[in-house]
């Protein structure tokens, strides 16, 4: 099983990404935890919810949480894709999910996920990271603590630095 980082620890990934649902769903055990594209989930919601295994949803940068946030209770994990690490839309989407819509389950960064962005992701609401497979996942953990001072409020720290002063 591939490894991911969750809450700053390396764990085995318990989820399977379903890229071609028509084929892959047939061959996947009903008790497996799967991640499907948002559009597929919206179309096949009831059958997916009825599965024994959990179902997560994969979002792209152009997806809008405003349009499906009513469904969040039925979604067991949200993966947000970074097509390139320089594409920062995922940060805003994670903040909306976590802060505005109160999503408390796993928010996972997938795609071009590299260690130098992990801390920013964490501050925006991500709690799990599927590091790009050619990168060293153990060494990546150090990046969470490279910078310890944050000026802004974020999902972890509710006050900007000026309001934190004693």
């Amino acid at each position: 099983m591939p490894k991911i980082i969750k809450k700053r620890e390396i764990i085995e990934d318990q989820w399977i990404s379903i890229n071609n649902p028509e084929q892959d769903l047939v061959s996947t055990d009903a008790s497996a935890n799967i991640i499907v594209e948002l559009a597929f989930w919206l179309e096949n919601k009831s059958s997916l919810i009825a599965r024994t295994g959990k179902v997560g949803v994969l979002l792209q940068g152009s997806d809008e949480p405003e349009l499906f946030h009513q469904e969040l209770n039925n979604i067991d994990l949200i993966a947000i894709n970074f097509p390139k690490f320089g594409d920062g839309r995922g940060y805003s989407i994670a903040r909306l999910l976590f802060e505005r819509y109160g999503y408390q389950k796993e928010i996972r960064a997938v795609g071009d996920v590299l260690r130098d962005q992990l801390r920013f992701m964490e501050r925006c609401g991500f709690n799990a990271y599927a590091l790009r497979s050619d990168k060293n996942i153990e060494e990546a953990l150090a990046s969470f603590s490279a910078i310890s001072v944050d000026y802004q409020s974020d999902v972890l720290e509710k006050k900007p630095i000026y309001n934190r002063r004693p």
Partner: protein, 553 residues
């Protein structure tokens, strides 16, 4: 000026070590060229035609003399003995080696300086009026708000990977917009409403480059307490909806234009409804606290126009011309704002040597409370000089080449490094500046021409803001040969106008002739009291065009 707190310094030190580690991983091959590119840009490091370029942030243009001396030291030790003042009030080094950059950053951090977010697709250095806090013509000192924005925008976790770079400028001036706020991604103009309360006019979507546009007003009055929540809402809308498929269409101005300013403003307002009155609220106490970090210098109680000053002015014509051109009125009686010209003929505009930087620091310590400001016109300001010291200061400035009385004249050219240094440039720009300055070497004539701005960019990226020069010159490449396109009528100030191209472009050798023809025609056409821009606005492009191309035939 703002002095770092413990946490500011800690963040900076950590950032230096983080970058050192990133550089080492790049040299070990753990980070690819492309991966490192984005990281090094966010730390101000470009790779240029000859060597890397390191852009050092100068928040809102303010420097203390310890910092100026450190810049001199870096120029001497790691570069070829000079630095360049950029059009964003920053300082650039053109010749550092990539291996040395972490050490340079550590040197900078020791004097509370850095290169964080001076490049890359993130929120850049916030700029402001170089006369902030010293001019009589302002609503309030804008710098405390700039510092608040600096802190908010530094390593902001959500906005480090925007579609494109993002620039914010603030002015509180009432006489002239010296910060060109309408040509920034967000321009903030501090105003007072009818009830006497301070707030911001928010302009969005201004910029130059390939699509020059003046920013549109989307919020006529924003209370200071809402400043950060509104900026955060604006950035979030841009981060989510700005184009990422084409870097030339990725700036916020393209999104604002596509949606219309009204619709864009509405989207920001919708987002802002969720964010306002929340964690980002900027309490009045915090603004006051920040204001207390920008105390007035210890001004003496003085009379305006002391006798020695009046005498010197009477006796020395050159001094009095310099006073008129290179100094401005101060809010305190007996003080004056002095601009040091960094564009004497024969020197690349904005270039300053290590020794000159040391001298500037000495002068600032002696005459101006140990503070120095960079201007977006690539000059340097000593903001708080006693009038009784001006004659002595002027004499010293002359010795060191800073007293060219050319501020706001045709010879005070804004010019980018151009094809001589920059990898992006299509054409050289510095030789054109030199050509023009040599043409206008008769200063009686230069002063007769009066107030004018002339900006030269070596490519469409418009680093020298040629679109908003009263006369703008753009270098273009046609089949391997360099040509120059001339535009007229640009205005970076409150008028916020993009210049119009006069017609087909010119050969390198003809640019000074063309500029002279334009200038002579203005002098023949002007009405008493008109500047070049006023004459142009009255008579329009057509007669200029006729004159210029008639001559060429």
């Amino acid at each position: 000026m703002y002095a770092y707190k413990e946490y500011d310094q800690e963040l900076l030190n950590e950032r230096v070590e983080q970058y050192r580690d990133q550089t080492q991983r790049f040299f070990k091959g753990e980070l690819s060229e492309d991966e490192f590119l984005i990281l090094r840009l966010q730390n101000g490091l470009y790779v240029q035609r000859h060597a890397p370029l390191l852009r050092v942030a100068v928040p809102y243009g303010m420097l203390n003399t310890e910092q100026v001396r450190k810049l001199a030291h870096i120029a001497r030790t790691y570069d070829k003995g000079y630095a360049h003042i950029s059009t964003r009030q920053n300082v650039q080094f053109n010749w550092p080696s990539m291996e040395n950059v972490p050490n340079i950053l550590a040197e900078l951090a020791s004097v509370q300086m850095h290169a964080v977010q001076t490049s890359g697709n993130c929120i850049r250095n916030t700029t402001t009026d170089q006369f902030a806090g010293a001019t009589a013509n302002e609503i309030t000192d804008p710098r405390p708000y700039c510092e608040i924005i600096r802190q908010w925008s530094t390593l902001h976790p959500e906005f480090a990977y925007l579609p494109r770079k993002f620039k914010i400028a603030v002015t509180a001036a009432t006489d002239e917009d010296r910060a060109a706020i309408r040509f920034n991604d967000v321009g903030l103009r501090i105003i007072k409403n009818d009830a006497g309360e301070i707030g911001f006019e928010v302009f969005v979507g201004g910029g130059l480059g390939r699509t020059p546009l003046a920013g549109s007003l989307i919020k006529p009055f924003l209370a200071p307490k809402d400043l950060l929540s509104y900026l955060e809402a604006t950035l979030r809308v841009y981060n989510r909806y700005g184009r990422r498929d084409n870097k030339y269409k990725a700036r916020i101005k393209i999104l604002v234009k596509a949606l219309t300013p009204e619709v864009f403003g509405k989207k920001v307002d919708e987002e802002w409804q969720h964010l306002r009155d929340g964690a980002l609220d900027l309490p009045d106490a915090e603004v006051k606290q920040m204001q207390s970090y920008f105390p007035e210098p210890a001004y003496e109680t003085l009379e305006n126009n002391p006798t020695s000053f009046i005498e010197a002015k009477k006796e020395n014509g050159a001094f009095s011309i310099w006073l008129r051109q290179n100094t401005n009125e101060h809010k305190k009686a007996g003080y004056q704002i002095v601009t040091l010209s960094l564009s004497p003929t024969g020197v690349a505009p904005g270039d300053v040597t290590d020794n000159q930087l040391d001298i500037i620091a000495d002068l600032a310590d002696k005459y101006s409370f140990g503070e120095v400001r960079n201007t977006h016109n690539q000059n340097i300001v000593l903001a708080d000089v006693k009038q009784e010291d001006l004659f002595e200061l002027w004499n010293t400035l002359q010795t060191h080449g800073f007293a060219t009385a050319n501020i706001h004249t045709i010879n005070d050219i804004i010019c980018c490094p151009g094809g001589d240094f920059c990898a992006l440039a299509n054409a050289k720009s510095l030789p054109i500046a030199d050509q023009i300055q040599k043409r206008f070497d008769d200063y009686d004539f230069v002063y007769d021409i009066g107030e004018i701005s002339l900006n030269i960019s070596g490519c469409m990226n418009a680093c020298s803001h040629h679109h908003v020069g009263n006369i703008g010159i753009l270098g273009v490449d046609k089949k391997g040969k360099e040509f120059y396109q001339v535009s007229l009528g640009g205005d970076a100030g409150f008028g916020a106008n993009v210049g119009k191209i006069i017609g087909p472009s010119f050969n390198e050798g003809d640019v000074a002739d063309v500029v002279e023809t334009i200038i002579r025609f203005y002098i023949d056409s002007r009405i008493e009291g008109e500047t070049f821009l006023m004459t142009y606005q009255r008579i329009g492009m057509a007669p200029f065009k006729e004159k210029v191309y008639a001559k060429n035939n």
